[in-house]
Structure formats: C-alpha cells, structure tokens
C-alpha cells in the first residue's frame, strides 16, 4: 500500500470514527428529545387544564350557579381541548338518572341530539363514586361503551361531582381521536383536573349551604325585628299623631308647629274625688278605663286627636296635626257623642245600682302651638290661651251639657242648636260668652 493510500485509509477511518461519534451523540439526543417533547405536550396541556381551576378562584356562594356551570363547561371544552363538555344533574324523582345540563359541544358534534339524552348510571358505578375514563381504542368498560354510544363520542370521561359524600352530578368531557397527533384520547390527568374542579364546586356548595343557614337566621331575626318595630310603631302612634311619628322617625325630632285655628275639647268627671273614695284603686282604674276607651273610639271616629288625660280629665283637639276647616263641627259632634255615651251609661248603671260618672264638657276654638317636649316619655302636647279657655269652658260647664265659647259658637251655629248662657265670669279671664250646644 502506497503512502498516499495509507493516508486515505487513515483519513477514512477518522471520518468514520467521527461520523460514528456524531451519529451516536445526535441520534441518542434526538430520541431523548422525542420523549421530552411528548412529555412537554402533556405538561403544557395539563397547564391549560389547571387554568380552568384558576378561573374558578373568584367563585363563591354569591356567584350565579347557572352562569358558573355554563362557563365551567365551556372552559373545560376549550382549555382541555375537548369536543364536548357538560355537567349532568339528577333527574327529579328518578333515581340513578341524570340529564344533560350546560352542554357545550361545537362544530360537527351532535349537540342538540345529545342534549335530550338521559344517562342511566348503574347502581354499582353510582355507589363506587368512581370516575369512568373511556378510550375507544383500549377500553372494554361496558358502561364506558354505553356512554360512548349515548354521548356520541369516542373517548370520554365521566366523573362524579361529590359533595359531603353524595353525588351532586357528573362532569362529562369527550374528545374525538386526534388523527394528526399521537393517538391520545382522554388521559389520567384530565381526571385529576376534573377532581380538582369538583372540589371547588363542593367548597362553593358548602358556602352556599352555610349561607342558606345564615339567610334563614337573618330572615328570622328580621321578622322578629319587624314585629318589634310594628309594636313600637303602634305604641308610638298611641302617644303621638301619625304625622308626628313620621317626622320624628325622619328627623329624630319634631318642630313645634303653630296652628291658626283648632278646637280644643276638655271633659271632666263631676265629683270624681267623691266617687274615687268609695272604690278600690283597681276598681277606679277599671271605671276610668271603661269610659276612656269609648271616648277614644268616639274621638277617632270624628278625626279628633286625643292629646292626653290628666286624672279624670280627657283632652283632645280637632284641626291638628292635619289642619281641617270643619274642626269645630267635628269637635262638637265628638263632644255630643261623648256626652250621650256618659248619660246613657249613667241611666244603665243607675238601674243596676252601680256607681256612675257624670260629665262636663267644654270647647274653645283658636290658635295653639303643638309639639313634643323632653327626651324621655315624650308626649305630643298643645299650648296657648285657646287651651286655657277650653279648660275654663269645661270647668264653667254644666253636668251633662256641652259648653262652648263664642269662637266655637261662630263656627258651628248653623249646624247645631246653640243656647246662649250669657257672659259668665271666669277666673283670670273676666266675663266670657258661653253657649250650650245640642243637635238641631
């Protein structure tokens, strides 16, 4: 062999050596890369799946359930690169039967046909609470094959949504065989993702249940409060006019208000002290209560506002808190009815020998100021000379009669029979014209 040939052989040997080394390095590296790439694909798709869970982070008991499940099914479809996804819920009163809800199928998938399907879950599958992962190429599961046929998809998973050890429903996700990728249908990690989503739903369900309990408690408390409020308001209405309670609620206080013309009515039981001495305190209160209840009815009937009682004296006024033109007429009518009631009661009680009261009633019309004073046990009251004169009308009155002043007389004279009593002296007021009023 010539020296040149030897050099060529040596060179070829070197070339073969380095080619061999290079081949070994590059091809073994490639084989590794093939597997790495496949693993990376799974990891990347798994990451996409985890995004479904991430999207649930803001979900809580306040979330709209329909919207939540609808979005969830769509997200499972898109993120996990499925052809169809749905949530199945139990059919009412039909054990082990589940209906399609929130079905998201796109493209050529028979969404409308599958939407009507009812899935019957075998008792043993239901009791096991296990998921079904079915890939047409490698599975022999009878239930999986049934699902595949009913749900019209080659590869699928059917995973229970478990809450407090009970099955709320099932997740269903399906994927047709991918021809341009390695033949993978549903993978175990898809199931892991569904389990995690199911966990989130269970947590939300827990929140929902706790919220329901809380809502029930709140409702009960609110009802109690409402009842308390109504009692308070009724009590308030007993001591204050309605309009005044509204002003008090709105502003926390009530301004004193001037009224240019009202009619004030006073009553007094004659010889009350004498009668009261013959009764026990309990009997006395019962008697007064009997009269005052009826007088309350009468004043309410005529739209006359009860102001207060002071011992045996009942004080009311017409024309407030809502002003009215016929205040004097209303007050006189109330006065006459009270008088008649007391007289009729007297006749009845005389017959049975029971104690009875006689009454004097006085009315006066004129301006007053009305309002509330004090911060405790406050009461609506009226002030002014008109009130004082009304009181004098009562004290200068006659038993069983209604005694009215000149100002009241001028307002009612056309409707009632008024008998002039003359100018009668009144303490600190001089002589005042008085009239006895009766129905015509």
């Amino acid at each position: 062999m010539s020296s040149l040939e030897e050099k060529l052989v040596q060179a070829q040997k070197e070339i073969d050596y380095y080619k061999g080394r290079l081949k070994q390095l590059s091809t073994s590296y490639m084989a590794l890369e093939y597997r790495t790439a496949d693993l990376s694909k799974d990891v990347l798709q798994m990451t996409e799946g985890l995004k479904v869970i991430a999207e649930l982070q803001d979900v809580d008991a306040m979330s709209d359930e329909d919207q939540l499940f609808d979005n969830l099914a769509e997200s499972i479809n898109i993120r996990l690169k499925m052809d169809v996804a749905a949530i199945l819920l139990p059919v009412k009163e039909r054990k082990l039967e589940f209906e399609m809800r929130y079905l998201k199928g796109f493209g050529s998938y028979n969404t409308e046909g599958v939407r009507k399907k009812i899935i019957k879950v075998p008792e043993e599958v239901y009791q096991s609470k296990e998921a079904v992962l079915f890939n047409k190429t490698d599975e022999k599961s009878e239930f999986g094959a049934y699902l595949s046929q009913e749900l019209e998809i080659e590869n699928l998973l059917f995973s229970p949504i478990i809450h407090n050890k009970n099955i709320l429903g099932y997740f269903f996700a399906g994927r047709r065989t991918q021809l341009l990728q390695k033949g993978k249908g549903i993978l175990p990690y898809h199931l892991n993702i569904m389990d995690a989503i199911g966990g989130v739903i269970s947590t939300v369900q827990n929140q929902l249940e706790r919220q329901l309990v809380l809502e029930q408690l709140v409702n009960e408390r609110t009802k109690e409060l409402q009842e308390e409020k109504e009692i308070s308001e009724n009590l308030l209405l007993n001591i204050l006019p309605f309009e005044t309670t509204q002003e008090l609620k709105k502003n926390g206080k009530v301004k004193a208000k001037d009224y240019s013309m009202v009619t004030v009515l006073f009553t007094d039981f004659i010889d009350f002290t004498k009668y009261s001495e013959g009764m026990s305190p309990k009997e006395l209160v019962e008697q007064i209560d009997f009269y005052y209840r009826e007088m309350d009815h009468i004043t309410m009937k005529h739209g006359v506002e009860k102001i207060k009682t002071i011992g045996d004296s009942y004080m009311c006024a017409a024309g407030l808190p809502v002003e009215r033109d016929d205040h004097a007429v209303a007050a006189v009518r109330a006065a006459l009815e009270i008088r008649d009631f007391v007289e009729q009661t007297k006749e009845r009680k005389m017959k049975t020998g029971e104690p009875y009261f006689e009454i004097r009633i006085g009315l006066n019309s004129g301006p007053i100021v009305a309002g509330i004073v004090g911060i405790k046990k406050f009461a609506y009251d009226i002030w002014g000379d008109t009130v004082n004169v009304a009181s004098r009308m009562e004290s200068s009155g006659i038993s069983g009669e209604v005694n009215i002043s000149q100002s009241t007389y001028l307002l009612v004279k056309d409707l009632f029979h008024c008998e002039y009593r003359g100018q009668i002296p009144v303490k600190n007021k001089g002589d005042i014209a008085m009239y006895l009023v009766n129905p015509k």
Binding site: Y34, R35, L44, S108, Q178, L179, L180
Partner: protein, 400 residues
C-alpha cells in the same frame, strides 16, 4: 395613498359575534372606512355561515377569501383552541387582489391544480406580482385522509410565471381532519383550492423557518408508494430510522409518529447548511406490520435523497431568521406580513417551550401581521414550489 391594512381577531364562541368583532377591530386598527379585500380565517369549532354573516354585517360588499383554520396569529394574539377568528382588511390603490377557486380537490389534486393553473392563466391579470394559494387539507371522508399538496402544486407550477413569489398553506379545521371550509366572497365551499393573485405596484418576499438540521448521512428512498416510504437504502424504512436513533433500548418506534422528520436538501448537496434550502417531511404514522413510515406528503419517491432531521427545540435557531426578517423590513418597508405556521409547531402540540409565532410577532414589529396554523405549508425552496412540514412560512407584502 399608501395601502392601509387592518388586522382584527376574536375568540368569542358565538360565531356571528366573533366575525363581527374581528372585522370591527380590523377596521379600527387599520383606520379604514371601507375595505377592498378581506382575508378571513375562522376557527374549526365555529359555524362558518354565522361567522361570514358576522363579517358581512360590517363589510357586505368587500371581496373576501379565506377558510377554516384551527388557530390564528395576529400582531397581538396567538390562539388555537378552535374559536379564534382573524380578519385582515386591505384598502389600496396600488395593490389589487383577484381570487380564483377550483373545487373537486378530493377527487384528484393534480387535476385540481392544473385547472386552477389554467384559470390563473385565463384571468390574464396584468402586473401579477405574487400569489397566495390556500387549499382544503382534509378530504372529509371516512377514514379521514389528507389532500396532498405535492400533486396540486406540481400541476399548478407550470402555469405560473417562472419564479413568481408564492406562499400558501393547507386549511385544517382541527387535528382530526374534520370538515374544512373555504370562503370565496359570499360563498362557503369545501374541497377547494384558492388562488389569490396579487398584482399592481407591489412586491412580495418570503422566508421560511423550521429550525431543523440534518443529522445523518444522505439516505436514499428505495421503495415508496404515495406517502408511504417502505424502504430506505433497500432496508425497511422503520429499521433504518430505528437504528439511526439508537435502537429499541433508546426509542420506541411508536414515538416516530409526529417526531421523525426527513429533510430534502434543494441546495448544494455538500454545501454550507442553509435552512431555507431544506424541505421537511414529517412522519404522520408508522405502519408497523410493513415497517414503513407514513409521511404527510407523497413526494418521497424512490430515488429521493433525504436526511434525518434534528428539530431544534430551543428558540435560538430563530435568531438568524429574525435578522433576515429585519433586513427585509428595512429594505421593503412592507405594508403587511402573512405567517403560515405548521399546526404541529404550536406549543401544546410541539412540546417545545416557546412559541415561535411570538418571535415572529416581535420581529415584524409594527408591520400588520396575520396568519393561521396550517396542515401543510407551501413556499419556494430552490426554484420550485414545495409543500413543507414543520415549517413556518413568513411573507411580506410591500408597495413598490
């Protein structure tokens, strides 16, 4: 007036709303009041009719072309969940688009290519400067099959002016070859190839990126039928590749599908490596009983010299391409860029840890970008139009 281009997208699940939203965004982004031509891509999970109605609600009279794609790419968005739609609107006095279509692709790709070529010739478009060709990748039959690009473009090429800049891709609704649709103005068709003739005062440049390097000797295909390669160097193809990859202890032949890539060097056989001169062919499946490789395209015929290609799973391979892209942008001042990217290269399907389309978005900068994820990509490799696998085809359209 300079050509205006607006690109919009939507990923709403309501097809009408998605079409309308993407169109409105395109009008706004391009500052357009009207459009002369619309390139429209619609996700495979959408209803194409409703999508088109959504588009037409805003641009009813505009000329349109496009189709189903399982993912889209724009300046600011990349998506492949099946609900993405992309609308690109052109308004130009200098660039004209003419759309021609040929059906019956599923019956005979070669005949369809020939007929489309004749239509292009007959159209007599003056100042023809570039061509986009999009076609239905799915035969929509049972069992599903691909429409092959090799005979389609082999028949089309003789009808085209020599060296006409050309780019294209196969529409794919999803990874299981579901029915795919094409849009030609207001018509929705299937099994069609569309030719978009670009004419006027414009120019187009195309670059390809795949990041694959040869890592074996030249191997000769010695027996093949259609897309099935039975023998390499007179031995069963699977055995040859298995041996190259280190044997059964290192790799399972089941892992060959969607991984094993064979490259054809259209450049100088032992010259310096140039990425743009390699056409890649990806293995779709392994025919284990026959120890054969089923490829995406039927162009690896007996006598073809191929090399086992190593796919670069790191983004660094993009750097040189991006530099080239920047040079093109600097030179052309393009008005639009179109990126047709292999669906398998999308992150969840490739297993790589980066999204090459993001690098393209960065590289094109302010040039409006639209694109879609395809089944097969088409570009000139060497002198001829070449269907490609595992490749991104990026083209720039500029006014002269």
């Amino acid at each position: 007036m300079k050509t205006k281009v607006g690109v919009g997208y939507s990923n709403q699940t309501d097809s009408f709303a998605a079409g309308k939203e993407a169109t409105a965004a395109a009008l706004e982004n391009g500052g357009l009041e009207k459009a002369d031509f619309a390139l429209i891509f619609c996700g495979g999970k959408h209803n194409p009719k409703e999508f088109l109605e959504g588009v037409n609600s805003l641009i009813p009279t505009c000329q349109k072309a496009g189709g189903t794609s399982f993912g889209i790419i724009t300046d600011s968005f990349i998506g492949y969940d099946g609900f993405e739609v992309g609308v690109t609107l052109f308004s130009s006095e200098k660039i004209k688009f003419t759309v021609l279509a040929q059906g019956n692709l599923n019956e005979n790709e070669f005949v369809a290519g020939d007929e489309l070529g004749k239509k292009i010739e007959s159209a007599g478009v003056e100042d023809l400067q570039a061509l986009w060709v999009f076609y239905d990748s799915s035969k929509n039959q049972s069992p599903p099959m691909l429409n092959f690009a090799t005979p389609l473009f082999a028949a089309l090429e003789p009808h085209l002016p020599k060296g006409l800049p050309c780019a294209g891709g196969g529409f794919l609704a999803d990874m299981r070859l579901s029915q795919c649709y094409q849009f030609v103005d207001d018509k929705i068709v299937s099994q069609h190839a569309l030719a978009i003739l670009i004419s006027g005062e414009c120019t187009m440049e195309t670059t390809i990126l795949h990041g694959c390097h040869p890592c074996s000797d030249y191997l000769t295909v010695t027996k093949a039928e259609g897309p099935v390669v039975f023998e390499i160097d007179h031995r069963p193809a699977v055995d040859v590749i298995h041996e190259l990859l280190g044997g059964s202890e290192v790799v399972d032949i089941k892992d060959f599908a969607m991984n094993v890539t064979l490259g054809i060097n259209r450049g100088e056989k032992f010259g310096e490596f140039k990425e743009s001169e390699f056409a890649n062919r990806l293995t779709l499946a392994v025919d284990e009983p026959n120890k054969a490789l089923v490829m995406f395209e039927p162009d690896l015929v007996a006598g073809s010299e191929v090399q086992l290609m190593h796919r670069n799973l790191e983004p660094d391979y993009l750097n040189s391409v991006i530099d080239g892209v920047k040079d093109i942008i600097h030179k052309l001042n393009p008005v639009f860029s179109l990126y047709i990217n292999c669906g398998g290269r999308a992150r969840p399907f490739s297993g790589v840890n980066f999204e090459d389309a993001e690098s393209v978005q960065d590289a094109v900068g302010s040039v409006p970008l639209a694109g879609f994820y395809s089944g097969v990509e088409v570009a000139r490799v060497g002198e001829f139009l070449q269907p490609l696998d595992w490749t991104g085809v990026l083209c720039f359209l500029a006014e002269k």
